[in-house]
Subunit: 264 residues, 4 copies
């Protein structure tokens, strides 16, 4: 019933100055519209379509940038991890550890993330039914950590295409854990450009708005001041200068939905 949380930031960390600039813009937008804010960015893109895709600044440099953002703005920060060692290292800095969709069934990684005591945001695999997520959450919860978020990011629909089944949101809410809509990756076209993934940035606000109308804990949106030249996920990131308008609309829908949420 609390106001919507925005989990947002650039797909991958570039420089400290860049991270600070994006974070500052988003902090101000969220203050203006009354949203909660979590800064998100990746230090390593571990599963690029092609070996030629840019990997990122690396864990050490990346965690340092996240620490700076956190110190500067006092906002929680989130990053995604790909193995047990990374989960432990990231936990020293971040508030939220994110499990990538491809890895959402890797038991050891889920346990390691849970054991850090951080909030754990698990993205639902493109290959998973929403009613299979309680088993996933239970792996994390078995560590005694029940600070769990579950994120929808689309399901495989034929080749190189994802579809978001709106039913998955209330189904996942039945676990009692907060549910997040990833409006960026749900409009990804995996592998759709041959050597990289395509995306349909123009639909990201649609995915966010329809999900928020249910009465949702949060939305996940990647953003960049110049998506067409971003090192990854450019095709589905929203332009930073449009985030204010997008968030204003989302908060309008959030208020209405929170007053009259859809629940199973």
């Amino acid at each position: 019933d609390r106001p919507l949380t925005l989990i947002a930031g650039p797909c991958q960390l570039e420089t400290e100055a860049h991270a600070l600039m994006i974070a500052e813009t988003l902090v101000k937008i969220c203050e203006t519209v009354g949203a909660q804010f979590v800064f998100k960015a990746s230090y390593d893109k571990a599963n690029r379509t092609s070996l030629k895709g840019k990997r990122g600044v690396g864990m050490e440099a990346g965690l340092k940038m996240l620490e700076t953002v956190r110190a500067e703005f006092g906002c929680p920060v989130l990053t995604d991890v790909h193995d047990i060692a990374q989960a432990r290292a990231a936990a020293e800095v971040v508030d939220v550890i994110q499990i990538p969709a491809f890895l959402c069934r890797q038991t050891d990684l889920l346990l390691a993330a849970g054991e850090t005591g951080c909030v754990v945001n698990v993205k639902k695999g493109q290959f998973l039914a929403p009613w299979d997520m309680p088993n996933v959450a239970e792996k994390v919860a078995s560590t005694g950590n029940d600070k769990i978020l579950l994120t929808e990011r689309g399901a495989s629909f034929g080749y190189n295409t994802l579809v978001t089944d709106m039913r998955s949101l209330p189904i996942m809410m039945q676990t009692g854990y907060p549910v997040i809509m990833d409006a960026t990756h749900s409009v990804q076209q995996p592998g759709g450009q041959g050597n990289s993934s395509g995306g349909q940035r123009e639909f990201a606000p649609l995915m966010a708005r329809t999900a928020v109308s249910i009465g949702l804990a949060g939305v996940f949106i990647e953003t960049h001041q110049d998506p067409d030249h971003a090192p990854s996920d450019g095709p589905n990131m929203i332009r930073l200068d449009q985030m204010g308008t997008v968030m204003k609309t989302l908060m309008d829908f959030d208020r209405l939905a929170k007053a009259d949420p859809f629940r199973l």
Copy 2:
């Protein structure tokens, strides 16, 4: 920009008294909440899963009932047709002729429907991409009749399951024709009960609400005072005594969405 239209009624016509009772209830609800209303009912279910499924009262009796509803309440009425002769006969009575999803590519039926001069509501086939609907609409429009509605009712997603891709709504809106969300059949589970189709009635208000948040011309909802004993589509019809609450919520979202619609 006009208020939401509700296209609603029982899946199939039963008796004149029953049709009048449902219509009266829905007319009152729509007046109360400020929605436009079109009464919908079928006189023949021409594609039941099994031969044992009830077909309906037949065209002659059914059209008479629709005529009575129209005369009694002054609301437009809609029914679905399955061949050219039916299209011509129905046009004598109804305001809107509906083309079933399975038949949405049958050129002669689309032309016959267009030639009646009635409004033609074409349901998008479960096998069709949204960007293929302009070709369908053009078949109707080639008759000089551009009073066309396009309806989303879900796409095949594996076996016995449909999924609604929210992107299809703004894509179909780009044709310029009003777009309708069928919240009843999009939660159908085709053939899912062996000798009949299953359904997830509990998700129909979800499908309606998320679609309306885009800023939509209308929603299509089948309803019955006792869905579990209805002759068809019981599993996905909303209880009549819940329609008031559902419509109140939809109109709240409609007002917000019409003030700030999502458009491509």
Copy 3:
């Protein structure tokens, strides 16, 4: 256990001379390789993607051409019908009446086809699970006509794409009716070229061969001497001059499979 039946011909009838040329070529190939043969062609393409797609020579002219082929070569002929009146008219000429996939749940059409006493070949809808075909067959069989064929032609797999689930073949065989693999339409890309359907002709022999390895009643293949200039389904028709090679391979696999069929 009888040798494989080839149901083949051009997608649509063009001229009598053309039909005779194709039929003659296929009759000779089937004699050479020891296959049974049914000549197939359509007189009307009733559900083209676009209104601009060529419809065909019409029922009267088309049935006359089929009659000529039948008289000339003594082979059974097959055509597809789209309404009750066509089913009755076609039955005067053809041996096999085919129900198009989109229409496979239209009860009245199935009953009318059954009542003609002809063999009825029903294509499984792109939206139908294989275990839902017994209900379809039962509609035809309720007329007292159990000369029924069931044809696989792919299932919807995301947008503009079909996938063939090999499991559907033995599942449909459990009905006891002969099962046919449509190697042409299973590699169709519905609506995939904007105003017409695309196709992957290069995979048609693959679909045929893998299906035949199960031990199958027949394969359905559309063929043309110049597919790139054919009026419809060009992208997925096999070149006529390759049919001899294709059939030789299929008969080799058919012999092996018939000696050791896969059955549930």
Copy 4:
């Protein structure tokens, strides 16, 4: 053009005696029918549906068992690894390192596997198009190791269901790397039993046979003397006492297919 390779064994290692018993049976069958043989078993099931699913004997004990099988029968052995450290440890013992489908895009794991110099068998993700596998193979090949196998194991098809697109086999063959059909996991029903995955064991021989008819390097089949009591993947493992019959059929189809393979 060499005879078919069978990659087979129990889903997970149980005891050394059990591994030896299964291996011995399979070695004899392959000698009898003229197939090549690779023994496969997992020491850890790292992504069970539920935390309650049995994980396995662990890496150390498991690798020792594999070493014993290798020494006893002189056959190559394969196991799957889940992180970089495991890849290096497994390489001390096994001939083939397998990358699980969920992990097929994890760049570091692919590189680590490649760097061991072992043969690397990558399973195509349930979320991946076949034309995206060259990018995956290239990651391995970038290490200078081109001993790569690519395995089909089904694609997501709605919820809790996989479908195998036969076209994926020749598409992956175009890379030049040997292609394997996993007849066991392609008939898995992921998460289909609530707390564990279901499966359709009865279709595994179908998947193997249809794939082999193309002319394939190998098939992957999990087997157990008592699948209903196996610790994992019981529903889709073939009974060990049926493997002889299955392999005899596959070799018949292999000989025919190798003499007349399907190639794009």
